[in-house]
Assembly symmetry: C2
Homo-oligomer: 313 residues x 2
């Protein structure tokens, strides 16, 4: 089936078209991706994009699942894109804790997809922003990106989402560690999950202290949850909506979306340059230059100049 027909079916609400388009975006190669994006793009821009992030082990999947149930109670259709930082070497993904999401498999108003992060070392998959377009065009009210790990991926979520929820748990991956990993500043809402454990209040306090360092007009609210028991989830959902309402009131929503477009255009362009370097291929100019650098016959900057010149020539 050609992409145009798939997109028509997606817009008509056909679930199978959704799954097939996502596969096409993820696996179809750059030309397919470009074609699908051009078709979808005019139909996007309405979904509320939410990033849920935090260190491994804080219970993000359980939290996401509980939030999905809450949003369903509020009659909102929800899509979740779970980005698994699969090995850059094996391309595989461990999907173990996706199992909790099975609570929602029979609900037509919920769509959940795990996506490998291959092709973009350690960060979000290069296909992620494009997969978000598919879910947005499919008419979901809420689209969640859940990322595992800390660092690069989280910063990218922040530049993609309307609202980023940074999740911590008492005792592990505490506030100081989160600060080190640079993920505090990207939080629009904090969630201290597993709040029935010792040290939850201490984590909240540490977060509050660090917020004194501040980052602009919005002070991220801090919410305690026990996602496995559905505690605090309704309040967290309210806080997420509260942040979005604030963005809209202040005119920041348009600004965030402009920034998202800027990052997307620049990353696609850089990806294209990266592809061109890759196509120069093994045995080609890159290898020749690398050999010259390794043998100290030339320095890396001079080699990089030659690589760039080959691109332009």
């Amino acid at each position: 089936m050609d992409s145009a027909e798939l997109v028509d079916r997606l817009l008509a609400g056909e679930r199978r078209a959704l799954a097939r388009l996502l596969t096409r975006v993820e696996d179809g190669g750059p030309d397919r991706l470009r074609e699908v994006v051009a078709l979808l793009h005019p139909h996007t821009g309405t979904a509320q994009l939410i990033g849920i992030t935090g260190s491994p082990g804080v219970g993000k999947s359980t939290l996401t699942s509980a939030l999905v149930a809450e949003w369903r109670r509020r009659e909102r259709r929800v899509a979740v894109l779970a980005v698994d930082p699969s090995s850059p070497f094996s391309g595989g993904a461990l999907l173990g804790d996706r199992i909790r999401m099975q609570d929602h498999v029979l609900d037509e108003g919920v769509f959940i997809r795990s996506m490998a992060s291959r092709g973009h070392l350690g960060g979000l998959s290069w296909a992620t922003p494009q997969a978000l377009l598919v879910l947005d065009a499919a008419g979901f009210d809420v689209v969640v990106v859940e990322t595992v790990g800390v660092g690069q991926a989280e910063v990218e979520v922040a530049s993609t989402a309307d609202t980023t929820v940074v999740t911590l748990a008492p005792g592990m991956g505490d506030a100081i560690q989160a600060a080190k990993a640079g993920i505090l500043e990207i939080a629009d809402v904090f969630c201290v999950n597993k709040a029935d454990r010792d040290g939850a209040d201490r984590t909240v306090r540490e977060l509050r202290d660090m917020q004194q360092l501040g980052h602009g007009q919005w002070r991220a609210p801090i919410h305690k949850t026990v996602a496995a028991r559905d505690e605090g989830i309704s309040e967290l959902a309210d806080a997420i909506d509260g942040h979005r309402a604030w963005l809209a009131e202040q005119g920041h929503l348009a600004q965030r979306r402009l920034e998202r477009a800027r990052v997307q255009v620049r990353e696609i362009a850089l990806g294209e340059v990266r592809d061109r370097f890759a196509r120069l291929g093994s045995g080609g100019l890159v290898d020749e230059l690398a050999a010259a650098v390794a043998a100290r016959r030339t320095d890396p900057y001079t080699a990089a100049d030659r690589l760039l010149a080959s691109l332009e020539g």
Copy 2:
């Protein structure tokens, strides 16, 4: 002082020249960086480069400090570059646990430097490979890069180092979480630190099980340490040297260094493209394209094409 004179003094073993060159590489802007690299590059290629990585909280700094002491007992000169994932927003770095490194401040055979990871979201600083050149040219026998966090930075360490030590601790950031974060495959040597805690043997077992999935000829040895009490450190140092000896015997050392040069050349070239996009600047073409994408007047691929065309034109 001009860079050529600083490099002469560095090669003569002057400690102050070392610190000043590192600052120049880190803060001096792209032209300075290029100049320094061109001068240093012919004098590099002798140091043993070691990456030490793992999740926040596993005790990497303590481990690094213990290894430094061990290498000093073996009469090797050691430099440590600790890459702090400072916030991409604030540019600040939290240096708290660098304090342990103060054990070594009076030792002329040890040099320790913390480096922010600004400018390269969440990953290694763009200046890191260049800072390694400074330390290599300064004649250190061992140069360690310690990274905090998981993900992008770790993969980059693996492509830079001769030997990458992946550090875990029982109970937190366990083997399954590490697998999810994609850092198992980059390990040449595993270190289960804080091995006096409950669950250390379980972590070792999980690692061993996952190794069944394999990645080539080298099976990374798994070492238990209690770095704070100096336990297992000598064996870990032996394992690191063992890996390097294996690389050399198999002819893989040259191959790793070729790969390192390839990544370095490509990343410098991509950084240059990124800089050119940035110089197109606010109010310029990138903003115009982003606005058109955000308003759905054009799609991101078409916009990226125009951005690339402007680069070449």
